[in-house]
Structure formats: structure tokens, C-alpha cells
């Protein structure tokens, strides 16, 4: 047992804190001791613990935001358990036969390979499937290139200087209510460092898909692309993910140093709740990247899951000639609510940003785009183009657009366009007259509507994302 843990136990004792350090789960509740416990469990150095405690103090002084266009019962943060180890093998289903057949059907529709299905459904497989050797091969290749790719909990020990320098540098602890909470209690997540001038030899996707399980509800990711480097990172997967934890509050920080490029793609399909709107994940995410000179950050997201989504992947375009991009498809059905968009903060000269947002609302859902484009007083010659389209399917849903556009430089050019439309009866009929059934026709039209965004996804994911929309829209046409 490490010194910290020992000292913690002593402290716990004196404070009358009775949780056994050997236990795998914490009872619900949040206080300093819980944070000490989490930190001790991860065997963290003192500075990391101090950082968490500072965030906790800040969080205590903050209020839960209410400005988003979403409604949900007030969250009782004391009723949440902030640490739980992965389920033991014994508690898990033994094979896919024991898994909810609906889930399996969805996996099949999405064309997810069998071994991935097992993994996603949490089947207690002996870890011998192909992917392990795949992982090893990947690791070798990455090491050769000098790329660091590991859990952030591991990086805290192995690369403390990088972590100390960059954690919270893009999303400060006090940035918002959930980022403060995440900073205090973050479970785990990924750390990526691409050395100078290196082009990451592969998409950090397949590997991630297999290893992302159980990163917990307060995920934290930090990606640093050093000067002139390049990386493409893919998070999430199209398969519906279930989780007992209702609240997810992740933080992702991207640092693109001079001439570096980071492409970050997300497919989010957390459990959205049932058709009546019961259950479902609350997904409150803070994602932000900073671009230095001539750097580029590109966010692409396909959001189909979660009961409530609150998410604004953003770019701070600090360096001259830097570029920010945001491509988003957000689909809501049944009783889902999404308030999502981006912020493009132009500080550097000749910075450029592009925002393409496609919102699809079906059922009784509410789908809002909320975006900020800010041209600072130093943003000479900066440019933004925003295209924000909403598609409504059915007359009980809502589609909303809340763009904030601020400019303080005359040579900055901002163009913003937004449209709202529905799948017209004439379009549907034309497809039917050519032999397609209504559901296929709608999914084709919706996919067409999203084309510009799908183009940004890595090839195999674009195909999956298309299928995902089809599956997510099921039952919305009729």
C-alpha cells in the first residue's frame, strides 16, 4: 500500500470515514473524502489530488446551469456514487444468449462483428479474441512512431510534466459546472501525445473502440499534438451503449501546437431512454481545443443517443492562420432533448472556421443548435461560415437555432445561414414511385441531408453512421 493510501486511511479514520479502501464501490455522496478516496485508489501523486480538491472547492461555489433548452428533473449530486470498479466477470452475462435480444438485433442491423458485440454487451469473454493481438500490433506501431497513447491515469504517473502543463489548460476547472465536477472526480480516459512532426500512423479508433469500456461516467481526455504533427482520433461507437450511471460529464481537451492538426470524430449513441422517455443517459460534455499558429482542429460528431445532450465542442483559434471546423449531425427521437453546437473563438489573424450543423428532430423530441462565433478585436481577416439546417419529422417535435455572433473586427467576415424543412410528401412519394418503402425513403433523404457531415467521418464510420440514423429513426415514420 502506498504512503498516500495509508495516510488517507489514517485520515479517514480520524474523520470517522468508514469506507473500506479495499471496497470496489463507494456509497453515494460527494465530499472531499470521496475525492481523496478516488485519488488514492488510483495511487495519484499529491499534485493531482490537490488539483482535484481545488476543482471541488470551485464546484461547490457554482450553480447548475439552466440556460440550455432542455428540461430534466434536478440532479441530486449526493445520490450518485462517484467510484465503482468494473463489474466482475461473474456478474456479467456468459454469452450473447443472455443479452437483451432487442440489443442484439440492433447490433446486427448495424453490422457489428460478433466479437465486438460480445464486448459491447459486456459478455464475460476470456480476453482472447483477435483484437488483443491487434492491440499489441497497434501498440508496437505507435511506439515506433513515438506516439504516446495510454489511459490518463497511467499518464499521470508516467508523464507528469505533460499532464501538469496541459490538464485544465484548455478547459479550466472553473469553466462550467460540469467541467468543475469532472475535474474533481474524473474516472479515467485517454491521453495522447504526438511528437513533433509525426503523423500518427493510424487512426486512433479501432484500438480505442476495444479499450474504451469502463472509462466511467466522468471521462477525461487530453490530446496534445506537438508542432507539425497530425492525428485522427475517433471516440464512441454506433452500437447503443447502456450504462447504469445516468449522469455522464466528460471533459475533452485538445492542444494543437504550431502547424499541428487534430481531427476528432465522435459517434455518440448512449441509451436514449425508452419510447416513453423513461431512463436514458444525461450527457453533459465539455470539449474544447486550442489552435496555435497554423494549427487545425476539426470536430465531427454524430449524436443519436442520450436522453439529454448538452455539448459544444469548441475551438479557440489563438494562433494566426489557424483553422477550426465543426461538423455535426444531431438526431433526436421520442422524448430526447439535445442542446448542442459549438463555439469558435477567433483571436488570431486570418483564422478560419466552418460550422456545418444538421439537426433532425422526430417524435416528441427537442433539438437545439446553440453556437457562438466570436471575432475578437485582434482577429484581422478572420472568416467564419456557418450553415445550420434542421429537418423535422412529425409535428410534435421542435427544432431550434440559437446562434450568437459577435464581431469586433471590421475585416472579419461572418456568414451564417439557417434553414428548417421537413421531409416533404412529394419527396417521399417520388421515392415510393421508384419502388422504395417509406422507411427506406426517409432514411435515404435524411442521409442525404447529413451528407456534408458524413463526408468528414472516416470511411467505415460514415457507413455505420448512415445505418445508425436509419435504426434511430425507426418507428418515426408512419
Amino acid at each position: 500500500m502506498s504512503e498516500q493510501v495509508e495516510s488517507l486511511i489514517r485520515k479517514e479514520y480520524s474523520a470517522g470515514f468508514h469506507t473500506n479502501i479495499e471496497s470496489e464501490t463507494l456509497p453515494p455522496g460527494l465530499n472531499e473524502d470521496v475525492i481523496r478516496f478516488i485519488s488514492a485508489k488510483k495511487n495519484e501523486p499529491q499534485w493531482m489530488l490537490d488539483w482535484r480538491l481545488k476543482a471541488f472547492k470551485i464546484w461547490q461555489g457554482m450553480e447548475e446551469p439552466e440556460w440550455a433548452h432542455v428540461k430534466y428533473p434536478k440532479i441530486d449530486f449526493q445520490s450518485i456514487s462517484y467510484f465503482s470498479a468494473p463489474k466482475s466477470l461473474a456478474d456479467r452475462p456468459k454469452s450473447l444468449d443472455e443479452v437483451d435480444p432487442d440489443l442484439i438485433e440492433t447490433y446486427n442491423k448495424l453490422g457489428i462483428p460478433l466479437h465486438e458485440q460480445e464486448m459491447l454487451a459486456g459478455v464475460a469473454v476470456d480476453a482472447v479474441f483477435d483484437s488483443v493481438s491487434v492491440v499489441t500490433t497497434f501498440r508496437g506501431k505507435l511506439e515506433e512512431a513515438g506516439v504516446i497513447f495510454c489511459p490518463i491515469s497511467e499518464a499521470v504517473h508516467k508523464y507528469p510534466e505533460l499532464i501538469k502543463k496541459y490538464i485544465g489548460s484548455v478547459v479550466p476547472q472553473r469553466d462550467n459546472y460540469y467541467s468543475a465536477l469532472n475535474s474533481a472526480v474524473f474516472s479515467d480516459g485517454s491521453f495522447v501525445y504526438i511528437p513533433k512532426g509525426v503523423r500518427c500512423p493510424m487512426e486512433l479508433s479501432t484500438y480505442f473502440r476495444i479499450n474504451e469500456m469502463n472509462t466511467g461516467q466522468f471521462e477525461r481526455t487530453l490530446i496534445i499534438a506537438d508542432e507539425g504533427s497530425h492525428v485522427s482520433y475517433l471516440e464512441g461507437c454506433t452500437a447503443p451503449q447502456r450504462d447504469e450511471n445516468q449522469l455522464h460529464a466528460a471533459v475533452v481537451e485538445l492542444v494543437a501546437l504550431d502547424n499541428a492538426e487534430i481531427k476528432y470524430s465522435t459517434v455518440q449513441n448512449w441509451y436514449p431512454g425508452d419510447e416513453q422517455g423513461k431512463g436514458g443517459i444525461y450527457n453533459f460534455v465539455t470539449k474544447r481545443g486550442i489552435c496555435h499558429t497554423r494549427a487545425k482542429i476539426s470536430w465531427t460528431q454524430v449524436e443519436t443517443g442520450s436522453a439529454v445532450t448538452w455539448k459544444y465542442p469548441s475551438c479557440i483559434l489563438k494562433g494566426d492562420h489557424s483553422i477550426g471546423e465543426f461538423y455535426s449531425v444531431a438526431l433526436t427521437n421520442n422524448y430526447q432533448q439535445a442542446d448542442t453546437g459549438t463555439k469558435m473563438i477567433h483571436l488570431g489573424k486570418h483564422t478560419k472556421s466552418t460550422i456545418i450543423s444538421k439537426g433532425i428532430s422526430a417524435g416528441k423530441s427537442q433539438n437545439a443548435y446553440r453556437g457562438l462565433v466570436r471575432m475578437g478585436p485582434t482577429a484581422e481577416g478572420a472568416r467564419n461560415y456557418t450553415q445550420c439546417d434542421s429537418l423535422l419529422i412529425g409535428d410534435r417535435c421542435g427544432a431550434h437555432t440559437f446562434p450568437y455572433i459577435e464581431s469586433a473586427h471590421p475585416s472579419a467576415v461572418v456568414e451564417h445561414e439557417a434553414t428548417t424543412s421537413k421531409v416533404s410528401d412529394d419527396q417521399l412519394f417520388l421515392c415510393q414511385q421508384r419502388g422504395l418503402d417509406a422507411e427506406k425513403a426517409v432514411s435515404m433523404i435524411v442521409n442525404g441531408f447529413c451528407r456534408e457531415v458524413f463526408k468528414q467521418l472516416p470511411m467505415e464510420f460514415a457507413v455505420e453512421a448512415g445505418k445508425l440514423l436509419e435504426v434511430s429513426l425507426e418507428g418515426s415514420v408512419g
Partner: protein, 255 residues
């Protein structure tokens, strides 16, 4: 292949749109291999006929019976009618932004073939066919990649309809004023497309206002549709007569 000796048999068809009676006991029989031209004044119900036959929502058959290749047509969903081989070239083809022409074509040809128990064409094979069809109707291949009818000119939309018809190889083609708004060259393109497809087991119903199309596509029969029913039928010479005299002399017969 179907064996029935009629392609389409319409008996006393009545139809309404938004509570308005448009077709009133319309009768028409089309045999395989025949070309029927339908002419008639604006608002007579020509497009309505095409819409009812293809099952467009909002166009309700209130009485009568339609047999298509021996089956009850009105009983089928619109996409089934299409898969069975009924094709409507729209008078006003709608734009579907984002969905590429190619995508729609492949999906519909696949659906039609699957329905007939045939194998799908491979992507490469199909691409070839689509390019060929483009050439025939004199559309640049870039049209395959563009959104369905998106930003097409009037003439391009019509040629696009003919291209789809060629690839779908329907048994019954209903052309609703496909010639309207076309210049002479485009008209010839459409006509030669249709003529190339003429065969003993395929029929056409050609709705037009102009006799000049019928110089290129020579019909077996010409019908006048007025006030919701066929008021006069004849051969090609009827079209010439109509051109000279207009429709008013027929008006009485319509009531």
C-alpha cells in the same frame, strides 16, 4: 414474365382530391406493346389519373376497379406498384437535396429486382448502365452525382425522368407531359428513349398537349380526357384534328 393479355384495365374509375370529384367513371384498356396518348384541356384530370394509378397519397379512388397485369392495382402500396413495373414520369419532378441521383437509382433498381427475385447488379455493373443511360438521354455524367433534380433545369428534370425509366425497365410507363418545356433536340432525345424501349411486353400512356410529340412517338390510340372521363378515342388522326379544332367541340360529350 406475366401472362395476362391486358396490361392495364380501368373500369369506371372515380377519384377525388380534397373532396373534389375529379375522375368520373373513367374507362381505359391498354394491351401489352401498345402506346396510348391522352390529350385534353388543362384541369381535365390527366395528371390525376397518373397519380391515382401510381398511388399518390391524397388521390383517392372512390369507385371502380383497376387491373394491372391481372392484379388489383388499387390494392397495392405505391412502392409495390413501382416494383411490379408501373412507372410514372412526373409532370413536376420534385427536388431531393443531398440524395444523389445515383443513390436513388441504385436503390430503386435493387428494390425492383429483389421484388422480382433477381440478383442485385454489382455497383460497377450498375454504374456502367447508368452512364450508358445518361448518354442516351444526353445528360452529362455529373448528373448522376448531383442531388435528385436539385437545381436541374426543366428540360434536365424531364430527361432525368426518362433516364430513370430506362434503368427501371418498367412494364407500364406513364409519361405526364414529359414533352412540356422541351426544345426540339430534347424532345427527340425523349422520343428516341421511348422508342428504343418499345417492345411487345411494354406499354406506354403518354399524356401530352402537343401533336408534335406524337410525330416522334407514334401512338396506337389517342384519347381525349375531359371532365374526368375519356370522351373520345381514335387513332393518330384524332390528335391532328384536336390540334386544328381545340377541345371545345368535345365539351358537350363530356357531360
Amino acid at each position: 414474365m406475366f401472362v395476362s393479355d391486358t396490361m392495364l384495365k380501368i373500369n369506371d374509375l372515380c377519384a377525388k382530391v380534397e373532396d373534389k370529384e375529379i375522375l368520373r367513371q373513367l374507362n381505359l384498356e391498354v394491351k401489352p406493346g401498345e402506346i396510348h396518348a391522352i390529350m385534353g384541356p388543362n384541369g381535365a384530370g390527366k395528371s390525376t389519373l397518373g397519380n391515382v394509378l401510381s398511388g399518390r397519397p391524397g388521390y383517392e379512388a372512390t369507385a371502380g376497379h383497376v387491373e394491372f397485369k391481372g392484379q388489383d392495382l388499387l390494392d397495392m402500396d405505391p412502392e409495390i406498384r413501382a416494383r411490379e413495373g408501373l412507372f410514372l414520369a412526373f409532370q413536376y419532378p420534385v427536388e431531393i437535396p443531398g440524395v444523389s441521383n445515383m443513390e436513388l437509382l441504385k436503390a430503386s433498381v435493387d428494390a425492383r429486382r429483389a421484388h422480382a427475385g433477381l440478383e442485385e447488379y454489382s455497383a460497377i455493373e450498375f454504374m456502367k448502365m447508368a452512364r450508358e443511360a445518361c448518354k442516351t438521354v444526353n445528360l452529362d455524367q455529373s448528373f448522376l452525382k448531383r442531388g435528385v433534380n436539385e437545381g436541374f433545369s426543366g428540360g434536365e428534370k424531364k430527361r432525368n425522368e426518362i433516364m430513370q425509366m430506362m434503368l427501371l425497365e418498367p412494364s407500364l410507363c406513364i409519361l405526364d407531359e414529359t414533352d412540356s418545356g422541351l426544345d426540339i433536340d430534347a424532345l427527340q432525345v425523349v422520343a428516341s428513349g421511348v422508342n428504343a424501349m418499345r417492345s411487345a411486353d411494354r406499354s406506354f400512356i403518354v399524356v401530352t398537349h402537343y401533336q408534335r410529340l406524337l410525330d416522334y412517338i407514334v401512338p396506337d390510340y389517342v384519347h381525349v380526357l375531359a371532365n374526368g372521363r375519356i370522351v373520345k378515342s381514335g387513332d393518330k388522326s384524332l390528335a391532328l384534328e384536336l390540334e386544328a379544332k381545340g377541345y371545345s367541340w368535345l365539351e358537350n360529350e363530356a357531360v
